[in-house]
Subunit: 267 residues, 2 copies
Amino acid sequence: MGRVTGDGTVGKALEVLDQVAAFGRPVRFSELLAKSSFPKPTLYRFVQTLTNQQMLAYDPERQTYSPGVRLVRLAHAAWEQSTLAPVARPHIDVLSKAVGETVHLAQLDHAQVLYIDKRNAGQPVEMYSQAGKVGPAYCTGVGKVMLAFLDKETADTVIEQQSFHVFTAHTLDSADVLRAELEDIRQNGYGFDREEHEPGIICVAMPILTDTGRVLGALSVTSTTARTNLAGLEAFVPILKDTAAKITRDAQNWSFPDYSTKETTGI
Amino acid sequence: MGRVTGDGTVGKALEVLDQVAAFGRPVRFSELLAKSSFPKPTLYRFVQTLTNQQMLAYDPERQTYSPGVRLVRLAHAAWEQSTLAPVARPHIDVLSKAVGETVHLAQLDHAQVLYIDKRNAGQPVEMYSQAGKVGPAYCTGVGKVMLAFLDKETADTVIEQQSFHVFTAHTLDSADVLRAELEDIRQNGYGFDREEHEPGIICVAMPILTDTGRVLGALSVTSTTARTNLAGLEAFVPILKDTAAKITRDAQNWSFPDYSTKETTGI
DNA sequence: AAACTAAGTTTCAAATAATGAAACTAGTTT
DNA sequence: AAACTAGTTTCATTATTTGAAACTTAGTTT
C-alpha cells in the first residue's frame, strides 16, 4: 500500500477520504491512524478539515467518522453529467420491461466495475445493489466485456490490477485464463458470467462501444440458475445488442444545453 | 459569491468542485474563471489537481469539466453510512406499497432539502436518479416539516438563507408567512405542500424526530391535484406517523458491526 | 487516590507547498 | 499580419503545511 499521492495537500486529503470510505462503516480516529501513512497531527488536521467541509460526518456519540452528505449532493451532479446513466436511462427502462430480469449498467473506474444504474424487474428481490457500488472486473459479466474491448495497453494495466480472488468454483483465477476468455468474448461480441462471482447467479453482458470501438460501458441481464440457464440468457443477446446500439447513438449525439438557467425541477 | 472558505487549500479546492457542480452541465475553464474568485493560474491548478484525482472529469473533445466518477463511488459509501436511507429503506418499501403514491425521504443539508431516497409507486426502485437531488426548504413539504421542528436558533439561520423565490401562485414568499405556517405544522405534527413548488403537485409530509425531538429527516407522500386533494392525502397521516416512528426507533438502535470483513456482496 | 495508559488535541519552528503577476503559446478573428 | 482570446508555464514571494514533542482528557489498574 502507501502509494504515492501527488497533487499536494488536496491529493492527500482525498486519500484520507478514500480511506474512510474503504472501511465501509463509521471509523474512529485511531483506527484510521493505524491504517494511515500520515503522522498523527497531520491525519488529525485532514479529518478536521474534511469534517468542516461536510465531506466527512462526525458522530460525537460514538466518536466516529463516515463519508459525509456533501458527497451525495456532488455525486448526483456527477451521475447526471459524467456517466452514461442519463443517456441510457430510457433504453434501460425498455430493456428491463422486455426481459423481465434484473438489468445493470456499468462503467469501468480504474480497474473496477462501477455500477451506475440498475433495474429490478419482476420482484424487487434481495440485494440493494445500487448506483455507486463497485465490483471486481475479472469475474463479472460487465467487467469482462469491457476488458475485452479495451486497447491492449490499457487492458494489460487493468488485468495486472485484478486480485483473482476465488469467489466460487467457477471464478477465473489467473490472468491467462482471463485472457483466453476475453478472446472468446471478442469473437462473440458479448459475454457471460457463469456463476463466477456468486453461486447461482448468471448473466449475459454486452459492451457499449463508440463507433470507433472505444469502451463506454456495459449492460447486463442477470438471473439465477434456478430460473434459467446460459442458453436462456443468450436469447436476450439481440435485444441487448439493440439497446447498446441505441445508447451508443444517443451518447454520441449527446450535447448539453448551452444556457445555464437554474432548473425549475419537479421531484 | 466570495464567501470565506477557511480550511486552507483543501477547502478552496472543494469550493471549486462545488462551483463546477453548480453549473449543472459540463463547463469550460473560462466560464469557471468568470464565476470564480481565484486568479487564473490558481484556479487552473485546482482544476488540474481535481481532474487528476477523478473528482472532475475532463472531456477533451469539448474541453469541458464536470464532476467526476470518483464522487459516485464515494457517495455510495456516504449514502449507506451517513444518511437515514439504509435504516429507512424497509419501512419506505412498506409505506410505498401501502399508499400507492410516490414516497420521498429527505434530510436537511445546510439550508436545503436533500432527497436521499424515493419510491415511485408504479415502477420498482429507481435509485440515484433522485437521491442526491437538492430542493428548496421553504416550499416543499419535507422542507417545511423539518424547519418546523428545528431549535429556534438553527431555524432562524436556515430561514434567513431561503430565497423565497415564487414558483407558483401558492408559494410562501416571505419569512413571516413561512413562520406562521411552521407554527401550524408544530400544532398538527405534520404539513402539506399546497402546490407551492409546482402547480398540480401536492404532498403530505411527516418529520422524523429523535425521542428528544431532534430533527433526523422527513417523509412525504406526493400526488397530483388530478388524482386527489389535501383531504385525500391527510388519510395517509396515520401510516406516515407510524413509519416515521419505526424509522426513529431503528435509527436509535442502529449500530454498525465492529468487524471490517470485506463484503462478498452480490449485485 | 495515586499511578498508569490510551486516545485525542495543541504547539511551534522548520520544511514545503501554494500563490499570482507576468510572460508565453496556440488558436481565431479582424 | 496584427489584435484578440483561451489556455498554459514560470518563478520569486508568501503562506501553509508539517510532525516531533508536549499536553489534556478520560478511562483503567494498582
